[in-house]
């Protein structure tokens, strides 16, 4: 199967990404004209939604800010309703490199696995800040301990999966903990996965705009709470 017979959806959950989201959507359209691009605007109070629509994305709007996890889930539902064969998740703050979508798609199209996970640590092309590197390494250990997956990266929002895998993966964590949840779902459904090296760019914009490392505590408490009381 080549990619031209596949319906490929790129999901871009976005919160306050006016000024960058338009450029990303345009670049994806330019490189991959037949992909469907879905921006899930999570009640941004800037012009994220307008910019994305103007650049040619399908825009879904949450009327209350729910978080990246919920946005991904909305995007997946939309993609599946529209007969997606392959679903790509990508950050909309410019930290992921558009041309690297190929790195995720190639192994998926050749049937190597059900889900392909981008890893910023497999090759050393990302200038990850020291504190973030430490937190992520701890996260990798936590993932290993908690779900049994021995990965080289965790909480990397750049991944691609088949429709079937996406239908199995239940996302109930609205915010950042969903990234761990996806990994647990891989284990629970015995999905096959492959990690591929991708670049994560740390720019002035992303550093000012992104997550605080202390958010890791919130993620861990959410996961423990869910494990103990919600499932």
């Amino acid at each position: 199967m080549t990619r031209n017979d596949k319906r490929i959806f790129v999901l871009l959950p976005a919160y306050r990404e006016a000024g960058v989201i338009g450029g990303i959507v345009s670049e994806i359209r330019q490189r991959y004209p037949h992909f469907s691009i879905v921006v899930i605007d999570d009640c941004s109070y800037d012009t994220t939604a307008q910019e994305a629509a103007l650049a040619g994305a399908h825009v879904l709007k949450h009327c209350i800010n729910l978080g990246q996890g919920a946005a991904v889930k909305t995007g997946v539902t939309f993609a599946i309703q529209n007969a997606a064969d392959i679903i790509v998740h990508m950050d909309s703050d410019g930290q992921h490199v558009v041309s690297e979508i190929d790195l995720l798609l190639n192994p998926l199209l050749s049937g190597k696995a059900d889900i392909i996970l981008g890893s910023r640590f497999l090759a050393n092309q990302s200038n990850v800040p020291t504190l973030r590197r430490l937190v992520l390494k701890a996260g990798i250990l936590f993932t290993w301990f908690f779900s049994g997956l021995r990965l080289t990266d965790t909480h990397n929002g750049f991944r691609a999966s088949t429709r079937e895998a996406a239908q199995k993966i239940a996302i109930n964590e609205n915010r950042m903990a969903h990234a761990s949840e996806i990994l647990h779902e891989i284990v629970r459904h015995n999905l096959s996965y492959v990690e591929v090296p991708v670049t994560v760019l740390y720019t002035k914009y992303s550093l000012l705009h992104g997550q605080k490392s202390s958010n890791a505590f919130h993620i861990v408490t959410r996961l423990l709470w869910r494990k103990l009381f919600l499932e």
């Binding site: 899930i40 399908h58 825009v59 879904l60 709007k61 949450h62 009327c63 209350i64 729910l66 919920a70 889930k73 909305t74 539902t77 939309f78 309703q81 109930n172 609205n174 009381f229 919600l230």
Partner: protein, 113 residues
Amino acid sequence: MVIQVLVTAISLFVVGKAATAYVHKRIRIPAFVIWALFWVAIIVVVWQPNLTDRLAALLQVGRGADAVFYLSLVVIFYLLFRIYIRFERIDSHITTLVREIAILNKRVDDTKK
């Protein structure tokens, strides 16, 4: 004496509130009974603190006041937990709605085009 009267007044006020809520069908009878019993028990204990000594003996802790204190903590933690679970459920319901609205709106927009 002052504290007894104060606590009694507050308790009666709360029971009265609960009674109104029941009359206006905002709560059901079991909720009213439990709530009323709880506040009546407080009135009893505040006038007859020695009663709690029996409770203390039953629980094998030193003083009546301690027994009441420990029991209250357990009840409060349990209620907190229940509230948290309820909160979590409301949260997930809101999420479902917001996600659904997003997808429906998109469909409406697309048919307008």
